[in-house]
């Protein structure tokens, strides 16, 4: 009887594993497509049916980073031989790298990517930091009108952001915040803060107040207790909140498109703008997209331990 039951469970387990594998493959398919296109030679990028087996190359990434123009005549062999290997890859494609003096001109991508990093990281750190402190206050102290305040904080998310895009743009223009890093950072903090407060409040409420009280009677100030006890206990919540905030800020498209055009432009509005110039080079766009996917993947992967662990109640028994 027991044997039948356990073999039944094993069968269910196997079925579940097969299901998970299938789901994973379906979810990974578009990512594979992007990644493989990024490493394909340009000629193979748009074949029908898609080419599966090919010699991977990184030409598209080189093209992604440098400014180049189409050459109208074949390259002179002496110049070709003198060029560094990466420039030769570009010349193979009938293109020439632009230089000012001896310096290679970079394409718009690296600076957009850096903008994305600066804006997403700064806004995430600030949104999560402020959210954590705010949530701690709501969780631990008697706040007058707590429910109303929390609702107010939540209500800032109820209006679809795009509805306020035009007025925001006019205000930003008036105060000179358009196309600035700080402008987008403020916007993204505003998007994420309510979410961060609510999420962190949930995590803070789960941390027994006895932990801090124990630290308080043991001679620590509330501030010390917060940093030594509450923050480590809230690590899981902070990690989860940070991942969500980072993804939101990293992927945001509409406001980035409206509010920035050059100096503070982020990658999302930039990548599709490259489609317009001439015949699209899909391998370069795929390379840009592929690199754009990496930070979120790396960040999430780095914090996976915290995300999976859930809140541990260690030594307090409920």
């Amino acid at each position: 009887m027991a044997a039948v039951k356990s073999s039944g469970r094993a069968a269910v387990n196997r079925l579940a594993v097969v299901g998970v594998i299938i789901a994973t493959l379906i979810f990974l398919a578009p990512i594979y497509w992007i990644a493989s296109t990024a490493f394909k030679p340009r000629a193979l990028a748009t074949t029908v049916p898609p080419t599966v087996l090919f010699q991977p190359e990184i030409t598209s990434f080189i093209k992604l980073f440098v400014k180049r123009v189409q050459m109208n005549k074949a390259v002179d062999p002496a110049t070709y031989a003198a060029a560094p290997w990466w420039e030769q890859r570009i010349m193979d494609n009938g293109e020439r790298v632009l230089r000012t003096g001896d310096n290679v001109q970079l394409s718009g991508y690296p600076s957009r990517f850096m903008n994305s990093l600066i804006i997403a990281i700064t806004s995430t750190v600030l949104a999560v930091g402020m959210g954590t402190f705010t949530a701690y206050g709501f969780s631990r102290f008697r706040v007058k009108g707590e429910a109303d305040l929390l609702f107010f904080i939540l209500s800032t998310r109820m209006l679809p952001p795009i509805v306020v895009a035009i007025p925001m743009f006019l205000m930003y223009r008036a105060v000179g915040l358009t196309d600035t890093h700080i402008g987008l950072i403020i916007l993204y903090i505003a998007f994420n803060l309510s979410f961060s407060v609510w999420l962190m409040k949930g995590f803070m409420d789960e941390i027994p107040k006895e932990y801090e009280e124990a630290a308080l009677v043991d001679g620590y100030t509330r501030m010390q207790a917060f940093f030594k006890i509450v923050l480590p206990e809230a690590a899981t919540g902070i990690a989860a909140t940070a991942v969500f905030c980072f993804i939101t800020a990293w992927n945001e498209y509409a406001f980035a498109l409206i509010m920035t055009n050059r100096r503070a432009q982020t990658a999302p509005p930039f990548i599709p703008s490259q489609l317009g110039s001439g015949l699209p080079d899909w391998t370069v766009i795929a390379a840009g997209t592929f690199l754009f996917l990496l930070p979120v993947a790396i960040f999430t992967f780095a914090l996976r331990g915290h995300l999976l662990r859930g809140v541990t109640f260690g030594a307090i028994r409920k």
Partner: protein, 371 residues
């Protein structure tokens, strides 16, 4: 080590008064147990002493110094929480060392102190583990170690062993007693378990609904309950309490319980003693513990025939319900003394264990039959 004095302490949560005008002096090196039913304000009192809860009015002095306006961290008091509150992200060693680090102890000193405490509590073998890997009893040992390590002025414990199972609780009780004898730390211990209170306390403080009912040694509280609440709260099985009427006829004094047909004989001096107490206008209640009801098989001088009702064998002794009018009087007898329900036995009240209370106020009259 220190003396703790509470003067006129009041605590309100909103409009709810949780502590009413509490006056209490806890002597240096004393082990005081706060005992009372759930919700009577024991934890709140303890937290007020620790500084985890502000008091609404009154004064708390530690070693003569008023502390009610000091932060918890400035009072130099240790607190053992019911649910241990060990920091999950720190090892056992770091948990115990935590209070020392607040004071900025040198590395070698910290190590020495932690190891000394670990030895005393026999927890040295899992100093490297995380609290979540420990059993409940071990977690509690660690929590106590964390409280002892700093040698605070006083140690406050809120039902520290309440979450353990019965056997472990007994072991830990003994261990706490031993630790107190060795360390002599001023200790305030909260529990609603009277056995714990009786066995640990130098003095017991009985509380009910935020009001201090009685303070005394375990024996005092047991033998001279100040009021009906204490009388019924302390002792297991509980004290018999019954309406009582004094009757005098032919130079003999008797006390009739409830609507019983027979009355128990009492010394002739009793009515006057009760009158002299100046209380008892609110009606008279008689209280006697089951062991004070003396039962015989044969009729005799001063013995009242009573019918046995329920018999509870408890191993070492039996508790027998004797019908007295429409009520019962529970008597403690040797095992198997009363054969079966319905048997008639003969009983009297032990003069030295009979208490009288004013029914309305609940206060003890302070008179004894033997007196």
């Amino acid at each position: 080590m220190a003396e703790i004095v509470l003067s006129n302490v009041q605590k309100f949560f909103g409009t709810v008064q949780v502590i009413r005008d509490l006056n209490l002096t806890i002597a240096d090196r004393e082990f005081v147990v706060l005992l009372g039913p759930s919700g009577c304000g024991k934890t709140t009192t303890l937290r007020a002493i620790a500084g985890l809860e502000d008091i609404t009015s009154g004064e708390i002095r530690i070693d003569g110094k008023p502390v009610q306006d000091l932060e918890a961290s400035e009072r130099d008091i240790a607190f053992v929480f019911q649910l241990y509150a060990l920091y999950p992200h720190l090892t056992v060693f770091e948990n115990i060392a935590f209070p020392l680090r607040a004071a900025g102890g040198a590395r070698a000193d910290v190590e020495r102190e932690v190891n000394a405490v670990a030895r005393a509590l026999d927890i040295g073998h899992f100093l490297g583990k995380r609290p979540s890997a420990l059993s409940g009893g071990d977690m509690q040992r660690v929590a106590i170690g964390r409280a002892l390590v700093r040698r605070p002025k006083a140690i406050l414990m809120d039902e520290p062993i309440g979450a353990l199972d019965a056997k472990l609780r007994e072991d830990m009780r003994t261990e706490l007693k031993r630790l107190h004898i060795e360390n002599k730390a001023t200790s305030v211990y909260v529990t609603h378990d009277q056995v714990e209170a009786m066995s640990l306390a130098d003095r017991i403080v009985v509380m009910s609904e935020g009001v201090l009912q009685q303070v005394g040694t375990p024996i005092e509280v047991y033998q001279n309950p100040a009021n009906l609440f204490v009388a019924q709260f302390i002792g297991s099985p509980v004290m018999n309490i019954s309406d009582a009427k004094l009757e005098t006829e032919g130079g003999q004094a008797k006390v009739r319980l409830g609507n019983a047909s027979e009355a128990f004989g009492v010394p002739v001096t009793l009515p006057r003693a009760i009158e002299a107490s100046g209380r008892g206008d609110g009606g008279l209640s008689l209280g006697i513990r089951p062991e004070g009801v003396i039962v015989a098989h044969q009729p005799g001088e001063g013995l009242v025939p009573l019918e046995a009702h329920v018999i509870e064998p408890l191993g070492a002794y039996d508790i027998v319900d004797l019908k007295v009018g429409s009520g019962v009087l529970r008597a403690r007898t040797v095992s198997g003394f009363v054969g079966k329900p319905g048997d008639t036995v003969f009983a009297r009240l032990d003069e030295n264990q009979t208490h009288f209370f004013d029914t309305r106020s609940g206060q003890s009259l302070g008179v004894r039959l033997g007196a």
